[in-house]
Amino acid sequence: MTDAATTDHWIRRLNLVQLVLAGVLIMAPTVWMVLSSFKPSFEVTAYPPTLIFTPTLDNYVELTKTTPFLSYALNSLIVTVGSTALGLLFGIPAAFAVSWTRISWPAILTLAARMAPGTLFLLPWYVMFRQVGMIGSYTALILSHAVITLPIVIWVLLPSFDGIPRSVFEAAQVDGCSVTRILWRIALPLVASGVAVSAILAFVFSWNYFLFALVLSNGDTKTLIAAAFNFIGEGSTQWGALMAAATLIALPPLVLAALVQRWLVSGLTLGAVKG
């Protein structure tokens, strides 16, 4: 008994060590960022780095004072949710079709927009959306961000769909399911974890992308991320406010990730089929 118990124990301990190690490496800068957001601006770059300090909310107050933070956040939310939804809406069926037919050019095509440097799109899109009078509209922003979210959704879901045993789909066909039904009723629930991952990723990418908003938005539809830059500049680098902004910006994706966590812990295909 002791033998087995100790091996088990050691394995668990090893895991714990790795977990802590990974945690420290990954989170230290993040922690540094969050702590910095509670420091007076000049203390952020103090040397030696201060660990003990009197926390202050000044940076956050500053933030709300100098930028219409909430309305930017709302803009960001609209654009991000919109483009994530659009990405999922277009991407899920496409990923399914690509996985089913094993014809991969549509997946590669959607990625094409990600292969080109984003700056390449600025001018043409500005011209294009101006042509139809959509500069500054949420629609233009959502569409442009969907170009980012779509390939993420497709590519993240591809291996998940590939992993579902074919015979489950076949059973559904025999049951009288159309392809679309198979997708929604059978395949989708089985790739829940993939959908969760792709949704998180699409959200984060869209949320943090500023280049397109730079030219396609106007003062009213500017996204939060563009505001973060405003704290960097000659004579105006406000470290504290920047860190506070970054902390607040990182918060929604973090909350989203925590929310969809439970979809990440699945293992549904167990027991479906032999083989």
């Binding site: 015979s167 076949e170 025999v174 159309s178 039904r181 059978i186 167990l270 027991g271 479906a272 089929v273």
Partner: protein, 356 residues
């Protein structure tokens, strides 16, 4: 309810031809069982009928509609998969009700049908479980249930009972048979179980390497196998084969030259052919007076309860005879056996075709 008709069907996987050229007519309401060695193409054929596997060439008719390109979903066929293929995310109940839901069957009726099928398959206690919480046999029964709640044009069953115990299997078998009679639905059934094949089938298709060896009623297949393959495949333990010759106006085993008593009909056929393969089923050996029969040494005894199997070597062939357990033979005993008259089979030594 529909007939199924397969014409000049060819199926290949890449270079590998599973079915070289197959013709088969299954009448409306008929209960047909496919048997054949593992890998001979039974599942493939079923999947082709279901519309899950494209045809390399040839035609497939269901009713009198050519369905070559028709999608599985449109064929209105129910199928039990060899590997179950349950929906992992659905509870047992939903696995079974899914197809009905799709067809817009009213809730109450769905419920009634699912409950009935569940009762029939003894899976009522598990309706609320997910497939992964079931045992192998239970999963198989769910797969079965998923098919039988429906009322399709045809049922296709791919070894649906292989993981059930004899008793349950007997029950379910009877239920399927009753179902087929009640619904008058065409049924195609793949099984490795001879008893299943014999008791359920209106007709049996014996397949080998994708070609039909015989397509006839169970009795005919058993009693008048078309060739040596069928003869050897159907029946358990398998038929014993001995090369025989017509020598000096009597039938003798080619190896060793022991004389075998054949009835007149068989003897005349052998005389004509000169040499042949003689087939005798284990249960068609009778104990004989010493002079009359062939003396053998008991090499192994397998008591099955209801019968006892005697293994022995004869003319270079390892053979089996099935005898009454009351006989209690012992290893090393020397006994004398002879084929029951009228129960012997003769096959062409070259191509295995039965000699008639």
């Amino acid at each position: 309810m529909a007939s199924i008709s397969i014409r000049n069907l060819v199926k290949r996987y890449g270079n590998f031809t599973v079915i070289p050229d197959l013709n088969l007519e299954i009448a409306d309401h008929e209960f047909v069982v496919f048997v054949g060695p593992s890998g001979c193409g039974k599942s493939t054929l079923l999947r082709i009928i279901a519309g899950l596997e494209p045809i390399s060439s040839g035609d497939l008719y269901i009713g009198d509609k050519r369905v070559n390109g028709v999608q599985a979903a449109q064929r209105d066929i129910a199928m039990v998969f060899q590997d179950y293929a349950l929906y992992p995310h659905m509870k047992v109940y939903d696995n079974m009700s899914f197809a009905l839901e799709l067809r817009g069957v009213p809730k109450a009726e769905i419920d009634a049908r699912v409950k009935r099928a569940a009762a029939l398959l003894h899976i009522e206690p598990y309706l609320d479980r997910k497939p992964k919480e079931l045992s192998g046999g239970q999963r198989q029964r769910v797969a079965m249930g998923r098919a039988i709640v429906r009322n399709p044009k045809a049922f296709l069953f791919d070894e649906p009972l292989s993981n059930l115990d004899a008793k349950l299997r007997g029950q379910v078998r009877a239920e399927i048979k009753a179902l087929s009679q009640e619904l008058k639905t065409t049924m195609v059934f793949v099984t490795h179980d001879q008893i299943e094949a014999m008791t359920m089938a209106d007709r049996i298709v014996v397949l080998q390497s994708g070609t039909i060896q015989q397509y006839d009623t169970p009795e005919t297949v058993y009693e008048r196998p078309a060739n040596q393959f069928v003869a050897g495949f159907i029946g358990s333990p398998a038929m014993n084969f001995f090369p025989v010759e017509w020598r000096q106006e009597r039938a003798v085993l080619s190896q060793g030259g022991t004389a075998v008593a054949l009835d007149g009909d068989a003897a005349s056929r052998l005389r004509q052919a000169g040499n042949a393969v003689l087939g005798i089923r284990p249960e068609h050996f009778a104990l004989a007076a010493d002079a009359d029969g062939i003396a053998i040494n008991v090499r192994l005894v397998e008591p099955l309860g209801s019968d006892t199997l005697i293994h022995f070597d004869l003319a270079g062939v390892s053979a089996i005879a099935r005898v009454d357990p009351s006989l209690r033979p012992k290893v090393g005993d020397r006994i004398s056996l002879r084929p029951q008259p009228g129960k012997t089979h003769l096959f062409d030594a070259a191509n295995g075709q039965v000699l008639r």
